[in-house]
Structures are given as C-alpha cells and as structure tokens.
Amino acid sequence: MLELKNITKRFGSIEALKDVSFLINDGDFVFITGQSGAGKTTLLRLLLREILPDEGEILIDDLNIAKLPRKEVPKMRRNIGVVFQDFKVLPERTVRENVEVALAVIDLAKKEWKSRVEHVLKLVGLEERMDLFPSQLSGGELQRVSMARALVVNPKIILADEPTGNLDWDTADKIMDLFEKINHEGKIIIMATHNKLIIDKMKKRIIELKDGSVVKDSGSKTKHRSEKSEEEA
C-alpha cells in the first residue's frame, strides 16, 4: 500500500506539487497524467526519494519514506522498480549484465542469478537477445531491458516515467501489454504519461495533475483540494 498525505514540494518560489493526497492499494495500476510541468516527474522522484517533500508524508506500507534516514534509502529503493523514458541501460554491458547489475545491487547469491535472469528475460521476450549489447537493440527492446532490470529484483512497486515516450505505437502497445502482465502478478504500477491513446485503451485508474494539484482521481476515495473547492462553490 502506498499513500501520499498532503504533499507539497517547492523549488524556490515555484510550487511543483500542492497538497497532493491519494492512496494506492496493492495490485493497483495507476496513470499519473497531466501536461508538461504539471508535476508528474516530481511526484515520481518523491516516491523514489530522489527529493524530499517540503510538507506531508509518503507512506509505503506505513513507513514514511520522507523521514527515512539517508542510509536506509538504498534498501527502500530495492522494493521499487524504475522504468525510464530514456531507458537508462548501461551501454557497455550486455542485456544479461544489465539485468544482473540489479541482482548484484541487492546482493543476491550468484547461483540464483541465472534462473532469475532467464525467467525475467523470457517474460519480456528478450531471451534470444541476452548476449547483445544495447547498441544492437531497438528502442522497444531497450525498454524491455529496462523493465527486466526493474522486475528481476521482484519489487512491490514499479514506477514508470513516460515508458512509451520514445516508442512507436505498436511497440508501445506491446510494452503496455507487458505492464499489464506484470500488474496481474500483484505489483503496484504507477505510470506517468500523457499518451491519451494508451490511457484510453488500458482503462485504469487515472490521477490527473494540473499546476501541481490533483484535479481528477478516477479511483480515489479521498477528496482533493480542487474537488473540495468545486463542492464549496
């Protein structure tokens, strides 16, 4: 379970997020949408504890990660898989090695690496390409490597920041099928995107941000500032 309570984040005089609150249950698939500059990436960076909120709490299984000591952050991040728009794969490492790095980070016994890596590469459809280097792969395949690396450590939450932003529609569609498959395994997926086609097709919960505030939450049980003001009006 993941919960944001009255999160505010400022960068100087700019309020990137204003009093944002929502609750995401285990197994939820949530799209964070909004225009550029709405606060989607800031929100994901907060969830990954790349940055700290100025106000509010971020609870992952009742643990407030905003108050987590710095040395506990790596341990917390091992429960979160991240998929980036620009893939962020290690260019000098093969597909297999890119995935293995994540296992080395969690200090998993080496004897378990082979089965885990093969399983996850099969899941993303790269089992035939495991010994190739990133420069030998297409954009869609690179995104699959990124997903495989996120999945191999068996995280509870997957954060995806515009994962289809650099892909054509067909490839993006396949990637989304993959996310759906992963979601069926019970993992929380939080995906920042402004791709309307994908959002409409997937029919999942949508949290829409505008100027740092939640203006719409299709599956929320909590009321947000904008909704409150509408009611008051």
Binding site: K75, G81, K88, L90, E92, V105, I106, K110, V153
Partner: protein, 303 residues
C-alpha cells in the same frame, strides 16, 4: 567483488591513456622513492661505519708494564661506550708505518720500532661519546696522548667529523623525504583527477545504480578498486625497476666503497631491505589509492 573487478577492468580498457598516465606517474614516484630509500639506508650505513670503526688511538708511554696495559685494556673493554679495543705493539706500529710509506722505502729504513709508541685503538658505540671518552683516557697515567683517525677531509676535531657526517645524512634524509613527498602528492593529485574524470564519465551509470538501490559502497567499489590497481601496478613496476638496477650495480658499488658496507653483501640481506621497502610502499600506495578515490568521489558527488 567479481562485478566490481569487471567494472574496474572495463573502465581501464575504455580509457587506456588515462590509466597509463596514472600508472606512469605512480611508477616514477615509487621508483624514485625506492632509490631514495636505498640511498637513505646507505647513508645510514656510512654514518654507522664511521661511528663504529676504530677511530681513537691512545698512545702509551714507553716505561709501562704489560700488566698496566692489560688493566687499561680491561677497563676500556668494560666501558659500554667503547668497543673493539685493540693493543698495537711498537713492532706492529712500525709495520703500519712501513705500509703507509711503502712508496718511499728510504723513510722506513731510517726508523726503528723503538721510536713508535705502543697504542690502544678502539672505537665508540656512538660518536657523541667520543670527546668525553678521549678526555677520560687522556687522564690515564700510562697514556701519553690521544688521537683520532676519523676524517672526511679538512676537519680539525672529532666533533667536526661527527657534525659533518650527521649533516650529510640529515640533508639526504630531508631532501629525499621532501622529494618523495612531492612525488607522492603529485601522484595523489593525478589519481584524484583521473578518478574524478572517471566519475564524470560514469555519471549516468552512477545515477542508475543509485536509483535501483545501490549503496554508496557498491557504487564506490569499482572506483576504489581501479585506483588500487593503478597503485599496485605503479608500486610493483617502480620498485622492480629500482631493485633490478640496484641488484645489477651492487657488485660495482660494493667494490667502489671497499670496506664500507654501503649495501648488504649477502643476497638475503639485500632482499630483506627491498622486501621492507616494498611493504612500506604497498601500504603507502594503498593509503594513496583509498584517500584519492574517496576524495574524488566526494568531490564529484558534491558538484
């Protein structure tokens, strides 16, 4: 460890000229340091040689008995400031004189043993005791006069000899130490710069590792390992080059300096000295690598 070693190896292969620059500077540093260490050792040996060789001669009066000589010899032997007491008879003194004037036989033909005084030759354990020992021996009834043989050229008294030797050794140690420290600092800075460049080129990789939950230790591991590899190669190459040069030239050096044991004459002794130097250099190198890489990492992270 395996993955760190592989990463470090990949970094070295990817930028071989940076790696070579670091290794060359470290090799030069440790080559010069090894040579300086040998020089410092040898200067110490020279000082010790002059401090402990028989330098003081107590010339004895003519009308003394063998018993008196034995008593003084025993007294000197029992003094812990004095070592290697040797009695030189009149006849032996004549032989020494003949040997010294062998290029002019006429000089030795004109003398007889009776004109040479018998003497007691001895050395002191530390030259700083020399003057007080001389003063004490001068007071002995059977002693006519006391002289010293140590001289490097132009000195009028024993303290001058001691002072000159001490100064030479001190300057060598200070100069060598300063030079080695400058070289070590240069190596340290080169390491910091090269590791800093590595960190900058690896920024994306570090960012990815950080985001997927790598600890600072995991991220720093390959960087520290890379610095340790540079230092290991630099230390061993520099030390080996100096060792081979010294080993090759030892016979000539020993022959040139004659009886002064400037270097150990036995192979085991020489190997022991170089073993000690290697151990100290490896330790110093390890500290350089660790300090340099940690400083570089913290500077890049700060920026």
């Amino acid at each position: 460890m395996g993955i760190h070693l592989k990463t470090a190896r990949d970094h070295i292969r990817r930028a071989p000229f940076q790696a070579l620059a670091a290794i060359f500077v470290l090799t030069l540093t440790f080559f010069v340091t090894t040579v300086l260490a040998v020089l410092v050792y040898s200067s110490g040996q020279v000082l010790r040689y002059f401090e402990t060789r028989p330098q003081i001669i107590a010339f004895l009066k003519n009308d003394i008995t063998g018993e008196q000589i034995s008593q003084l010899t025993e007294k000197l032997d029992n003094d812990n400031r004095i070592k290697e007491t040797k009695y030189v008879t009149k006849e032996e003194a004549l032989e020494i004189y003949k040997e010294a004037t062998s290029d002019n036989p006429l000089l030795s033909e004109l003398v007889s043993p009776s004109i040479f005084p018998a003497s007691l030759e001895f050395s002191v354990t530390d030259l700083s005791h020399a003057q007080e020992v001389i003063d004490e021996v001068k007071k002995e009834q059977i002693v006519e006069t006391v002289g010293f043989t140590a001289s490097l050229g132009g000195e009028q008294s024993l303290p001058e000899v001691v002072e000159r030797l001490r100064k030479v050794t001190w300057y060598l140690r200070l100069g060598g130490g300063t030079f080695a420290a400058i070289l070590a600092s240069t190596s340290f800075l080169v390491l910091v710069v090269i590791i800093g460049m590595r960190m900058t080129t690896r920024r994306t990789e570090i960012e990815i590792l950080d985001l997927i939950g790598a600890t600072p230790g995991f991220i720093r591991g390959p960087i520290i390992l890379e610095a340790i590899i540079y230092v290991l190669v630099g230390v061993i190459t520099g030390w080996l080059a100096a060792f081979l040069i010294v080993l090759y030239s030892t016979p000539s050096i020993l022959a040139y300096f004659g009886e002064i044991p400037i270097l150990p004459k036995d192979t085991l002794g020489l190997f022991s000295i170089f073993g000690i130097i290697l151990s100290v250099e490896l330790f110093t190198g390890f500290i350089l690598a660790l300090g340099g890489s940690i400083l570089a990492v913290s500077r890049v992270k700060k920026n």
